[in-house]
C-alpha cells in the first residue's frame, strides 16, 4: 500500500507501519482499523507523523493513535519519544493547551434516581463552573504568591484549599504534580492570564458531563473499580487555559529564533524544538510542568464544584452521593519515562499530543490498586454517543510507549459544521436521545455536533484490537455542559 511515495505495510492487528525513507530517522507507525484508512489519508495527518520521524534523537517510531487528525507540527493523536542526551523537546509536540486532560468519577447514584433532574443538574453546573471564551472567576482571583503555589503543587494546592480530598491525588496521573515545575520559568504574561481562570472550563471541545454506565465490558475489572450498569458518572475535560497557551507560545517563539544555532533543521517551523538538555529545553520542561500543575488544579477545582452542585441539586449528603475520582489522565504533555529500548530500560522524553498514557500493570508510576490492574484510560466520544473507560496494557508498553488515544477525533471542520447544521437541529437531535445540553454559545454546540467526530466505537475497537488498552465499561451522556 502506498501513501504518496511512502510504503505502508500492515504490522499487526490494527497496526500500520510507514517504512523509513528520505530524512526519516525512524519508521512511523499508526493504529487504525482498515476501514478507517481512507479517512485518515484524506486528512493528510500521515504527512505530519512522517515529519515527526525526522526529528533528532527520536526512538523506535513516530506514532499516531486511531483518533489521529490533522494538527500543526505534530498531528493530534501523535506520540514520540526522544533520547535525553541526543534528542529534543518540542512545545509543538505537546500543544498549546498543556495538560489538557480528562477525569472520570463514579457516584452511588443510579440513573432512575436522577432521570427527572438532569436539566436541574446541568443548570447548576452552568451556574457553578464558568464556561465559554474568556471564562473566569470560578473562585476568587489568586494573587501572584498563590498562583506560584498552584504552579508548584498542582492538585495538592486545590485539595489543601478545600477542593476535594487527598484520595483524589492518588487517582490522578503523576499524582497531580510534575516535580520539575518551576514558576520562575513562566513569563509575566502567562502568569497574568492564570490569575482568574482557575476552575473554568474554557471553550471548544471542553466539557463537564454527567452520564451513565450503559454496558459493562469487563466485569472483573469493573467490579474492582466499583462500577456497575446504570451507575451515574461525571467526566471533566479541560486544561491549563490561557496560562498554558501562553507558555507554549512563549517557548515556541524562543525556539524558532534559536533554531539556527542547532546542527539540525526542522521541516516545519511548528516543529521547532531544542535539545532536551539545553538551557532552553530545560526551561521549557520546567515551565510546561508548571502549566501541567495548573491544569490538574483546574480539573480538581471543577470536579469539586461539580460534586457540590450534585449534592445541592439533589439535596443529598456527600456519603449518599459517594462521589469518587476513578482517574485523571493528561492528553497534552511531555514526560520523562523509562521504556525498553534494544532490551535496556532507558529514560526517554515521551511527547503525547492528543494522546493518553496507557500504562499496563506493574509500572512503578501507578498507585498500588492500578499497579495490579493497569491504569484506567478514559476515551470520551462526542456528546451524542458513547464514552469508554479502558485499561492500560503491557502490550502498549512495547507498541506505543504506553500510549492510547484521547477521544474520537474530529473529521469535519468547525466551519463545515456551521454550514451543515443549525443549533435547533443539533439540540433537538440530542434532546430526542434524552441528552440535555447547555453551552455558553449556541455556535459551540453546532461546531461540536456529534457528526463532526469519528465514530468512537471504531476508534476504541482499533485501540482494543491493537492491544493498546482493553475495554472495561461504556457510558452514554445524560447531560453536557459545553464551553
Amino acid at each position: 500500500m502506498k501513501y504518496g511515495k511512502y510504503e505502508i505495510e500492515n504490522d499487526g492487528q490494527a497496526t500500520w507501519k510507514i517504512l523509513q525513507r528520505d530524512n526519516m530517522r525512524v519508521p512511523a507507525r499508526f493504529f487504525a482499523l482498515e476501514s478507517m484508512l481512507s479517512q485518515i489519508y484524506r486528512d493528510n495527518a500521515i504527512k505530519q507523523i512522517i515529519n515527526v520521524a525526522t526529528l533528532p534523537g527520536i526512538k523506535k517510531y513516530a506514532l499516531a493513535m486511531p483518533d489521529i487528525h490533522y494538527g500543526y507540527g505534530f498531528p493530534i493523536g501523535g506520540v514520540a519519544a526522544f533520547d535525553l542526551d541526543e534528542g529534543v523537546i518540542s512545545p509543538g509536540g505537546v500543544g498549546y493547551d498543556i495538560n489538557c486532560g480528562v477525569r472520570f468519577c463514579r457516584t452511588n447514584l443510579k440513573y432512575a434516581e436522577i432521570k427527572s433532574k438532569i436539566k436541574n443538574i446541568i443548570t447548576r453546573f452552568y451556574q457553578s463552573v464558568p464556561s465559554g471564551v474568556g471564562s473566569h472567576n470560578a473562585i476568587r482571583k489568586l494573587n501572584m504568591k498563590e498562583l506560584n503555589k498552584v504552579l508548584s503543587e498542582g492538585s495538592e494546592w486545590a485539595v489543601n484549599n478545600g477542593f476535594g480530598d487527598a484520595a483524589d491525588i492518588q487517582s490522578t496521573e503523576n499524582y497531580g504534580k510534575m516535580d520539575k515545575a518551576d514558576p520562575a520559568k513562566l513569563s509575566n504574561r502567562a502568569k497574568e492570564r492564570g490569575l482568574n481562570q482557575l476552575g473554568t472550563l474554557g471553550s471548544g471541545n471542553h466539557f463537564l458531563e454527567i452520564g451513565v454506565i450503559d454496558k459493562i465490558l469487563n466485569k472483573k475489572v469493573a467490579n474492582e473499580f466499583g462500577l456497575e450498569e446504570e451507575q451515574v458518572i461525571v467526566m471533566v475535560h479541560t486544561g491549563s487555559r490561557g496560562l498554558g497557551y501562553q507558555v507554549c507560545d512563549d517557548y515556541l517563539h524562543r525556539m524558532v529564533k534559536e533554531q539556527k544555532n542547532y546542527d539540525f533543521e526542522v521541516v516545519d517551523k511548528q516543529l521547532a524544538c531544542a535539545p532536551f538538555k539545553s538551557n532552553i529545553g530545560s526551561d521549557y520542561y520546567q515551565a510546561m510542568s508548571a502549566a501541567a500543575n495548573y491544569a490538574w488544579a483546574n480539573r480538581q477545582v471543577i470536579m469539586s464544584l461539580a460534586c457540590r452542585s450534585l449534592e445541592k441539586t439533589l439535596s443529598i449528603s456527600p456519603k449518599e452521593l459517594g462521589f469518587e475520582l476513578i482517574y485523571d489522565v493528561c492528553h497534552n504533555i511531555a514526560k520523562v519515562e523509562k521504556h525498553e529500548i534494544d532490551g535496556e530500560e532507558t529514560k526517554l522524553c515521551v511527547h503525547r499530543k492528543g494522546a493518553t498514557r496507557s500504562f499496563g500493570p506493574q509500572r512503578e508510576e501507578l498507585p498500588q490498586n492500578y499497579r495490579r490492574t493497569g491504569q484506567p484510560v478514559i476515551i470520551p466520544g462526542d456528546m451524542g454517543t458513547y464514552s469508554y473507560l479502558l485499561l492500560g496494557t503491557k502490550k502498549a508498553m512495547k507498541q506505543s510507549f504506553g500510549s492510547s488515544c484521547h477521544g474520537a477525533g474530529r473529521i469535519m471542520s468547525r466551519r463545515a459544521a456551521s454550514r451543515r447544521y443549525n443549533f435547533n437541529e443539533v439540540k433537538n437531535k440530542l434532546q430526542n436521545k434524552g441528552i440535555v445540553t447547555y453551552s455558553a454559545k449556541k455556535k459551540t454546540l453546532v461546531e461540536e455536533s456529534p457528526d463532526t467526530y469519528k465514530d468512537v466505537n471504531q476508534v476504541v475497537d482499533a485501540v482494543d484490537k491493537a492491544g493498546l488498552a482493553k475495554k472495561v465499561v461504556r457510558t452514554r451522556p445524560l447531560g453536557v455542559l459545553k464551553g
Binding site: Y72, V256, K257
Partner: protein, 139 residues
Amino acid sequence: MSYKLLDHTADLRVKFSGNIKKNLLKNSAIALSEIIFEIKQNDVCIDNSKKLNLKLEEAEFSELYIDFLREILFRINSSQFYFIDFNFKKITSTNLEAVCFYVEQDISNLKNEIKAVTYNELKITENKEGWSAKVTFDI
C-alpha cells in the same frame, strides 16, 4: 473584506490580504479583532480609542508577521483590545515599529477563542494584486 476563512479539520485557517505590506499587517490585526469579537470594524465605537507602541525585530518577514499577530492576539485575549487602526513608522523584512490604535471591549464581548498563532503551513505571497498570508490558528 480583507480576510477569508478557510477549512481546517481541527483549527482555524485564515487568508488575510492587503494591497501593500503594511496593509496586510493592518488588515490582519483588524480581521482578528472582528473574528474574535464578532463585531464589524464599522460597528465599533471609536470615541475612546487608545494607542499602543509596538517594536518588533525578527530574522525574516514571515517570522516578523507571526510575531506581530502574536502581539495582537495576546492583547485581544488578555486585555480585550479591539484594534481599529495602525500607523506604521517603519517596516522592513526584519523590523517593525507601529502605533496601534485600539478600543477596549468588555470581557463578555469575547465570542470566539483563538488560543494561538501557529507557524504551520504559513504562506505569505506577493503578486500584482498585493500581499496575502494564509495562517493557521489553534482554537
